[in-house]
Amino acid sequence: MTLYMVQRCLFDHLRRLEAAGDGPRPDMVTDGYKLTSEERRAVTEPDIGAIYRMGVHPVIINGFCRALGYKRADYRPLLQQADGDTARRRTPWQKS
């Protein structure tokens, strides 16, 4: 329903994982969060590209990918595939 709810859901999941330590790994919980079916699918599947396209904060994406055991080489392509806008703007520090 809102980007905040998706981010809250993921953030709370990361905190539960942290609290669990080496104990049993908690499942993703979506009950109690006002999510659309697509949002629920994206966080439970999980679909990193869809989560990125929704606009989830990159610090949360980074933590979520790490929690999933992904290496950078695993999730960078997922994010690149999801990125529709690859144009880089000119910046004052670019020499070439």
Partner: protein, 281 residues
């Protein structure tokens, strides 16, 4: 009145303590040698406490209430929450009197810091602080800055904040020798398609300005353009504030290494203390 006897800015990539050996040896040596020089400087100056500014990583605040700036006000703060950081967990001493004075002074100067009790000091602080004092006994007043969640304060606003924090520290009567530290940056990309990239051109451009003591170019960069150097690069706001606190004196760039294994441009810039700077001018 307190004197700022040392000031420095340093990158805080988690890998620098979590897995330092993952970097090419020469790069790691250059970066850590710079931090050792800073540690020697701290000993020489007899610094009694430091004030440290770094980016918030959703360790203390989340989107339900995210301040742009928050000062940790307790006598001690737990750090680090990250079990994988390879830094021992400890209640890190602070200096509550200095923290309270800074907060009050900032407000009197037109800044609006949030008040925070129970603040935890994560890798943003602990990677750099642990290298400064491996015993973790040196009191550290923590200040977190929102550097990644728009809308963000501009670089110019952080400059003004830095001027205010310098004045706040120098007007404190409870200590004589205080250090100021900025953690974060340089360029890095997190949780986005360019994750792992380092914008070396940005890093060298920015360090050149710090070395000259003239930040006019970066202060003219809008927030959305700064984001092009990396969505984590906004942590250089702490470096800008520190340069402002030191009256825009030229900083000495002790090290710069683009460490791709740590996904971070790694730099250290050291400033003269107040007395040295006054003697030189």
């Amino acid at each position: 009145m307190a004197e700022i006897v040392m000031a420095y800015s340093a990158s805080h990539a988690p890998m620098m303590t979590a897995d330092p050996g993952s970097a090419p040896r020469q790069q790691a040596e250059n970066f850590f040698s710079a931090l050792e020089k800073v540690r020697d400087t701290a000993k020489e100056t007899g610094v009694q406490a430091i004030v440290m500014m770094t980016g918030e990583h959703f360790t203390n605040f989340f989107l339900d209430g995210l301040p742009q700036i928050a000062v940790g006000l307790d006598e001690e703060h737990l750090g680090p929450p990250e079990v994988w950081l390879q830094v021992p967990k400890k209640m890190v001493p602070s200096h509550a009197g200095l923290a309270a004075h800074i907060t009050e002074s900032l407000i009197e100067q037109g800044q609006q810091p949030a008040l925070s009790h129970g603040m935890k000091v994560d890798h943003g602080f602990m990677t750099v602080y642990y290298w400064l004092d491996p015993t973790m006994e040196l009191p550290m007043v923590p200040i977190v800055l929102n550097c990644t969640t728009p809308p963000l304060m501009t670089t110019k606003q952080y400059w003004d904040f830095g001027v205010a924090i310098g004045d706040a520290i120098r007007s404190y009567e409870g200590l004589e020798r205080v250090g100021l530290v900025a953690g974060g940056g340089l360029s890095h990309f997190v949780g986005e398609p360019r994750v792992g990239d380092i914008d070396e051109e940005f890093d060298r451009w920015f360090l050149d300005q710090l070395g000259r003591g003239d930040l006019s170019e970066i202060l003219a960069v809008p927030n959305d353009v700064l984001m092009e150097a990396g969505n984590g690069t906004g942590e250089v706001r702490a470096w800008i504030a520190l340069a402002a606190a030191m009256h825009s004196a030229p900083g000495k760039v002790l090290a710069y290494e683009a460490v791709y294994e740590w996904i971070n441009g790694m730099g250290v810039v050291l400033y003269e203390g107040d007395r040295q700077a006054a003697a030189r001018s």
